[in-house]
């Protein structure tokens, strides 16, 4: 970090603070339009069934009901979604909760009443709740309309594989090989507090959607092809999203196109908001339903020589994250060893739909891998810190033409270890006694990714204030604040002089979604480029204004200050920024970031646990993160985001997990009482204040995105800490008390 920064690296309050704190921020479902109707879905009670008849006449006759849609009404709308496996409504239910009809009525109560009046006749089919049974010979195709899946229900028709180097050679160089036969990740859910919601208004002016999404721009493309209207005729307004973590970020969901069709059918605005049960079950969310076998070879000095692993994944009834999610298990890139073979077999089942959750699948590989690192370190007599440090690329290393700019694993490992007191606390499990045992563990999580196409416009007004026009919505990640800080830094402006326009596709250029840790890396950079463009225009226009007949100054000799342009060598020779812009004019700058680049985010977690060997309960008592995401733009927001991902990691490791009734396929815990996300009392102390200051020149002021990494490490760190406490390797998450008790069974 060479350049001295004025704003970057400080922690001003979020720009939307008071809007949110005062209750004024409008989330999708907060919008009330005149004459608005309320819509409700009817869900299938069967896991796999064909609808043989559906009678909506009684529902339509109920006073207040304005429209009922079934597959018959939308049959002309084809398959969509990231995997093209979803119809708007369906004549074939593929999981308990599949959406088979939708009602619009003058009140939510009446819409619910009308659902009971729809008569549906189902012909049940055999159903499959796990990949093994769905792949079995003679299994009925879940998606017969997708020919490639017709045998064995494998999503891509056949397993996918990835190879690098030569694993045969690699394993021949190994002196020791460690493996995990079957690492099981039971499905968890993003569980954002805001459920999916859409308010649709389809008028002669086009389709307007108030939508909870972190992908408003790309979403229009899917809606356009579904609904047969030009993209430019679809306006998505999505300033605030009540968090997503992936489940509102892709080509997913039926709520918005269906709300749009209901609005078209009735000529009135329509609101469709998922209930909590619908969010937990029907909103895409299932992820990490996988079983993985992994084998890693090590030379006697701890150098990794080869890695082979095979993933069997459950796509659910619809795989809305796309098949790429399991390919993303190629998490091995940051490791120096390049002898890798992995395969992924992703299978449709009659369980709730799947989509990516904060990590895009890379954790599927990282979880067992980081446990194997812990196993190897113990057996080889090494400290696992050294084993990790030894095997990672680090800052300055090259991968092809790409450079690892932000992979400060050694720094993160040593700083985190010092903070938690690793050396003194890392006592081997053989020395632990008593009913309550403590343990300490760690894990590295490195995410590789890229930037993705994004535009931004910066508008300098005639009073010197600055507007940032960038379509990246605010979902809690702090993007409005971060891009405002970038603009203030780039234009040497007061932070308070910058205003960020709320997300609205009608007035903003394309911005990439939140996902793949691309958001700030792409949008922040686009804003920086737009500011540089504006600044060049401002200085060029100011130069003649600051020149005299005897002293000509050029743009290169000028600088900007708060609402000011001045001669760098003679700061008193200045002119008001507003004067340069000119009354009732503005100066705009445009920035575009192309797709590409090489993004590395590194988060290293250290965890202390307490295991009650009598009850099997595991408590995380202390958590330390040491992280490298390049230049920390706003350390306070980064700390909050890392805390949040780590707390989700504690929940998804210990208390969460879907419960599916094996006799019906119904999910039993579509609620917060029984799907237990962490409360404020469910963990101990936490420290995410350690940030290295690597610098990625591709990112805005050297920063990279990467908060997905905050969910890559907590799980293996906790599992390694549990091993350190009780001497048992746990290879299944979530780790319910019964798993601990079973592991302790023999001892």
């Amino acid at each position: 970090m060479s350049a001295p920064f004025t704003i970057v690296g400080t922690s001003p309050s979020r720009v939307e603070s008071m809007t949110k704190l005062s209750g004024a921020a409008k989330f999708a479902a907060d919008n009330q339009l005149p004459g608005m109707l309320y819509a409700k879905f009817l869900h299938s009670p069967y896991a796999h069934a064909t609808i043989t008849s559906i009678d909506t006449s009684a529902a339509l006759a109920l006073s207040g009901v304005k429209a009922v849609l079934t597959f018959k009404d939308v049959s002309k709308y084809g398959l969509y979604g990231a995997s093209s496996d979803l119809y708007l409504l369906t004549d074939k239910a593929r999981y308990v909760g599949d959406e088979v009809a939708v009602v619009a009525a003058t009140s939510e109560n009446i819409a619910e009443d009308a659902l009971d009046l729809i008569k549906v006749q189902y012909q049940q089919l055999p159903f499959y709740l796990d990949p093994a049974s769905a792949m079995a010979s003679g299994a009925v195709p879940i998606h017969p309309e997708i020919a490639s899946t017709a045998t064995q229900n494998i999503m891509t028709g056949a397993p996918l594989s990835y190879t690098s180097g030569n694993i045969t050679t690699g394993f021949s160089q190994a002196s020791k090989t460690y493996e995990i036969d079957n690492f099981v990740m039971n499905p968890v859910h993003h569980s954002p507090l805001e459920t999916h919601a859409a308010v649709a208004s389809w008028t002669r002016d086009g389709l307007t959607l108030y939508l909870t999404t972190v992908d408003p721009f790309r979403r229009r493309r899917f809606l356009s092809s579904l609904l047969g209207v030009p993209i430019s005729n679809i306006r998505v307004i999505a300033p605030y999203c009540g968090s997503s973590f992936g489940n509102k970020g892709s080509a997913i969901g039926r709520h918005d196109p269906v709300a749009a069709l209901l609005s078209k059918a009735t000529g009135l605005p329509v609101k469709l908001q998922y209930t909590r049960a619908e969010e937990q079950i029907s909103a895409p969310g299932r992820e990490k339903a996988t079983s993985t076998s992994m084998k890693v070879g090590f030379a006697s000095d701890g150098t990794i020589t080869a890695c082979e692993y095979h993933v069997l994944g459950d796509a659910g009834a619809y795989c809305m994250g796309g098949s790429g999610i399991f390919l993303n298990t190629n998490f091995m890139l940051p490791y120096k060893n390049r002898n890798v073979l992995f395969t992924s077999t992703v299978v449709y089942t009659n369980t709730p739909p799947e989509c990516m959750f904060r990590g895009s699948g890379k954790e599927v590989g990282n979880f067992p891998f980081q446990i194997i690192m812990d196993m190897a370190a113990e057996d080889l007599g090494m400290d696992v810190l050294d084993l990790n440090t030894k095997n990672y690329y680090s800052v300055g290393d090259k991968f092809g033409t790409n450079v690892f700019n932000t992979c400060a694993v050694p720094d993160c490992v040593s700083q985190g270890a010092a903070k938690i007191g690793w050396k003194s606390k890392r006592v081997p499990p053989s020395q632990k006694t008593g009913a309550i045992r403590t343990g300490i563990g760690m894990s590295v999580g490195v995410r590789n990714g890229s930037q993705s196409y994004s535009d931004a416009v910066v508008k300098v007004e005639c009073d010197g204030s600055i507007g940032v026009i960038n379509g990246k919505g605010e979902e809690g990640q702090g993007i409005y604040t971060a891009v405002a800080m970038v603009a203030a830094e780039a234009l040497n402006a007061n932070f308070s002089d910058v205003t960020v326009s709320p997300t609205d596709t009608a007035s903003q250029p394309y911005a990439v979604r939140s996902g793949g840790s691309m958001g700030f890396m792409s949008n922040g950079k686009a804003v920086l480029l737009a500011c540089q463009d504006a600044k060049a225009k401002i200085l060029a226009k100011a130069a003649p204004m600051l020149s005299t007949s005897t002293n000509t100054v050029t743009a290169a000799q000028l600088s900007m200050g708060p609402r000011l342009v001045y001669v760098t060598a003679s700061p008193t020779n200045s002119i008001a920024l507003g004067t340069v812009v000119g009354a009732d004019q503005d100066i705009i700058g445009v920035g575009t970031v192309p797709t590409g680049g090489f993004l590395i985010a590194t988060l290293v977690n250290f965890v202390e646990v307490q295991v009650d060997t009598g009850t099997g309960k595991v408590t995380v008592t202390n958590f330390v993160g040491a992280n490298d995401m390049g230049t920390p733009i706003n350390p306070s927001i980064l700390q909050g985001n890392a805390d949040g991902g780590n707390i989700q990691g504690i929940g998804t490791t210990l208390t969460e997990g879907r419960i599916i009734d094996p006799t019906t396929g119904a999910q039993l815990n579509g609620d917060f009482l029984n799907y237990k996300i962490p409360t404020i009392v469910d963990f101990g102390t936490m420290d995410n204040t350690t940030w290295t200051s690597s610098n990625d020149p591709n990112g805005p002021y050297g920063a990279v995105g990467g908060m997905e990494s905050s969910l890559m490490s907590p799980t293996p760190a906790i599992l390694n800490a549990i091993y350190n406490a009780i001497g048992k390797r746990i290879t299944e998450v979530p780790v319910k008390p019964s798993v601990i008790l079973k592991a302790l069974g023999g001892s």
Partner: protein, 256 residues
């Protein structure tokens, strides 16, 4: 999903009784029975018994200790498929009798200092009434069954989950929502402390957190870390902003 969803109509006729019991426990401030479970399908039969406030305020207790029954989707399904071969079972989900008319009544309550008289159906929750009839959308509908705290409002100075409080039970009562906080010198400092400590991310749980924190400080002006956590344990935040929320409450209480 049908069986998993507690519709307002079923909620009122007693199917949701388990949830209501849980909610009463969560609200904590009063011992009362909102709904008397009834075997009647006549939705106009609503029995609300409010036994009055107790003197002990324990704050919003964690929902994790409640014992509501699991009501998963399809749990009423009576036909089990088999994976061993094709079935030819044809099942009809029969439509129940048509919904009956729903009763309602005028209620008068004070909302953010202003008296409001409005007609509510007996099945309308306070949350829906605030949001849909009064345009006060600060309180959020995140679970709609008393499990998350995002809809927390103050009623007569005590924390209530407005999603499991019927509007018809609020006649004569004093309701305060987040919308009153910004313009009130007694509460704006709470908002400022949340801002200063970055104690929110997406903002969806925030109204509930702020209202609950305000009522914590009313009941206990100098809370400890553990008292703060206990009080806020019924307010879920999926963004995981908990550490900064505790910092905020401690700062407001003069602690560190």
């Amino acid at each position: 999903m049908k069986a998993g969803k507690i519709s307002r109509r079923k909620f009122v006729i007693g199917v949701g009784a388990g949830v209501v019991v849980g909610a009463a426990a969560v609200a904590g401030a009063e011992s009362y029975v909102l709904i008397k479970p009834s075997t009647s399908t006549n939705t106009s039969t609503v029995t609300s018994t409010v036994t009055g406030p107790t003197t002990t305020v324990t704050g919003p207790t964690t929902t994790k200790t409640s014992t509501a029954t699991v009501t998963g989707p399809g749990s009423t399904s009576t036909v089990t498929s088999t994976v061993t071969g094709p079935t030819t079972t044809v099942t009809t989900t029969a439509a129940p009798p048509a919904p009956q008319p729903v009763s309602g009544s005028d209620v008068t309550m004070t909302v953010n200092g202003q008296s409001q008289t409005l007609y509510v159906e007996s099945r309308d929750t306070l949350l829906d009434t605030l949001r849909d009839k009064l345009g006060l959308t600060g309180a959020k509908k995140a679970c709609d069954r008393g499990e998350c705290g995002a809809c927390t409002v103050s009623i007569d100075g005590k924390p209530y989950l407005s999603c499991t409080t019927l509007a018809i039970d609020c006649d004569g009562r004093d309701v305060e929502t987040i919308e009153s906080f910004a313009n009130n010198p007694n509460t704006v400092n709470i908002l400022n402390a949340f801002v200063k400590n970055d104690a929110f991310q997406c903002g969806f749980c925030t109204a509930g957190m702020v209202v609950a924190t305000k009522l914590l400080l009313d009941a206990n002006p100098h809370p400890t870390t553990s008292q703060t956590k206990q009080w806020l344990s019924g307010n879920l935040c999926r963004c995981g902003t908990y550490n900064n929320t505790v910092k905020t409450a401690l700062a407001l209480g003069g602690g560190s």
